[in-house]
Symmetry: C2
Subunit: 368 residues, 2 copies
């Protein structure tokens, strides 16, 4: 069985240099007075406090490709489709965004080329740049041998993924056969977590903010009829769709019961939400339990679910030697095995075959 990890992040040198050069979120912070503390990566405003207990440790697992391969070997992962971790280039000055995107994407493609068929990648778009430049980079990505799509956050060009300004971007992605890997970053306003949130570590923004942000983003895309205008656009939705498989019925019902949408003669029907799950959407299997994964399979079909790890995030807290299988990985592999039961075809599809087919990860052609 070939195992493919479609949700695995990496910061190439070009991006690390950028993060180290910055003093505002997102940035990499060093503690010259306390080298033992190590460097810390601060990617969310809520993490940006004076204490070294905020942010997260960042080591070579984020930026040394040998560590990615080591992790893959340790977890019997044959191929990884690496992507830049959030917040991508959302924050970059518009005048510099296209240049930085080219640097980062070339950097990623080169790492894949040197991997002997172990690595492919999702690229990063210069979303702060003018749309014409974004489209230009999509066309260029299609010429890079190991690029299979783009990772995108939920802000688009700043107004969200239901922004009509993105139509040219979606059209270019569709025309060039590139997936969108839709991934959260911004979470929800911290006010929603209340005055006691600091007692709960990072649990609320990570466990809830991320998937809820994703759910809102994809629902806005549905409601704005992105998929009526770009009928074969494919979106791989992180974290098993946020919460879309669970809420699809409620979303569809709210559409069917909305007087305003009815008056406007909405084209989005109740059926559409479920149809999209089987026609345009793919879901990763990063959900950490069989119950959620079963809902994802029920909603999209086992042939549209793809294994992922979210590496290097969620390392084991106790693994001082770096030898253990990561709990965050074993939770997901166990969930897949428990959800599919005896169905070995479904298991093989989720663990790798679907990714190989849909993302064209043809090993015989790699590395040449």
């Amino acid at each position: 069985m070939t195992v493919v990890d479609v949700h695995t992040h990496f910061y190439p040198d070009a991006f690390m240099d950028l993060l180290r050069s910055r003093t505002e979120v997102p940035y990499v912070r060093s503690f010259p007075d306390n080298p033992a503390a190590g460097d810390r990566l601060v990617i969310l405003p809520a993490e940006d406090t004076a204490s070294t207990s905020r942010g997260r440790p960042i080591g070579p697992e984020y930026y040394d490709i040998k560590e990615k391969i080591k992790f893959m070997d340790q977890h019997r992962i044959d191929i990884s489709v690496i992507s830049l971790a959030n917040p991508w280039l959302d924050f970059v000055d518009p005048a510099e965004a296209s240049n930085m995107a080219r640097l980062v994407n070339d950097n990623m493609n080169q790492l894949c080329a040197e991997s002997g068929g172990r690595l492919y990648a999702f690229g990063t778009l210069p979303l702060s740049a003018p749309v014409a430049e974004i489209v230009q980079e999509i066309k260029r990505l299609a010429t890079l041998k190991y690029m299979r799509g783009v990772i995108m956050g939920t802000s688009g060009c700043g107004k969200g993924l239901d922004d009509p300004a993105l139509d040219d971007v979606y059209e270019a992605l569709q025309t060039n056969g590139q997936f969108i890997f839709l991934h959260p970053h911004y979470g929800l306003p911290s006010s929603l977590y209340g005055p006691y949130a600091n007692d709960y570590g990072h649990v609320l923004p990570l466990a809830l903010g991320f998937p809820l942000e994703t759910t809102i983003a994809i629902t806005r895309m549905i409601l704005s009829k992105v998929f009526d205008r770009h009928k074969t656009l494919s979106v791989l939705i992180a974290h098993s769709g946020g919460t879309l498989p669970f809420l699809a019925g409620r979303i569809a019902s709210c559409i069917a019961h909305d007087a305003h949408l009815k008056k406007e003669g909405q084209l989005v029907t109740r059926k559409s939400v479920f149809d999209l799950l089987k026609q345009n959407f793919y879901l990763d299997a990063v959900i950490y339990d069989k119950i959620g994964l079963r809902a994802a399979i029920d909603a999209a079909g086992a042939a549209r679910i793809m294994f992922g790890t979210d590496h290097p995030f969620f390392p084991p807290l106790d693994d001082e030697e770096g030898q253990d299988e990561w709990l965050s990985v074993s939770l997901n592999t166990s969930a897949i095995k428990e959800a599919v039961g005896d169905d070995e075809n479904e298991l093989a599809a989720i663990m790798g075959e679907t990714a190989i087919e849909m993302l064209r990860l043809d090993q015989s052609k790699a590395g040449d």
Copy 2:
């Protein structure tokens, strides 16, 4: 098979008088210059615009108990556990809250007493009042024959349901065997829905804002260890738990991977989230599709899921005669039948038996 509806709202006279007396959200608005427009209920700030297309029509289905009984007969519902619709008494002046709670609760209890065993109720707490007064009303509710718990929003006394100030409230509810029916109201900030949200009617706040708000609230309760301190407190969570069944694995994993919680020696373990679903939580079956309902059953067990309608919200858009079965009801009954398959015991449990047992809806003793 006895059918019990545990999620069904009603505004008794005392509360309607309050809503009609107000000019700020929440309130009932009339259009004297355009009587054909009917009265409109505005319960969310986002609905409070000049246009009559905002808010929602409010008619006797909200405040005439005969309409509730008619709806029950039409949908073959034997017993309804009625509750005040949001926003309950959250907005009431602290000095008036306790008095208003007593009026509303007595009003509801009297309607149940006159119903010949068809109606029970969840009461409403004066949450803006001092805690001692809230506890006093809980004790009083326990003496009202048809009250089986309280409906609560997510704000508690203003700081959320993880506020330690609520400990006396939770303890009083537990001691008096009263359920919390946890129900959303506040949704999420409209900024999250972006600049195009008006094109989507009420879909985003209703379909996403409500269940996501609920998920945050119950997770905050879990993380603040409410259920470690009040081990037998029972919570019926609206809309099949918001998204809790789907996200339980992710929440548990984030807890297990959080360095801050580990350092603090957290008592909340990964296992706890799933244990709570089988020990303290009940979920209604208001989810509109078999996929979500299956996840709810998988998470909590069929013996902890209870049928509900959300009446009088989500009326059919085309039912001018008022004769049709409501789509919002049939979606849920179909979802239950499809999710349980041939298991008639599970069907009977979800449709009514669990509610009868857990909420002590003993028909032989009713109406006397």
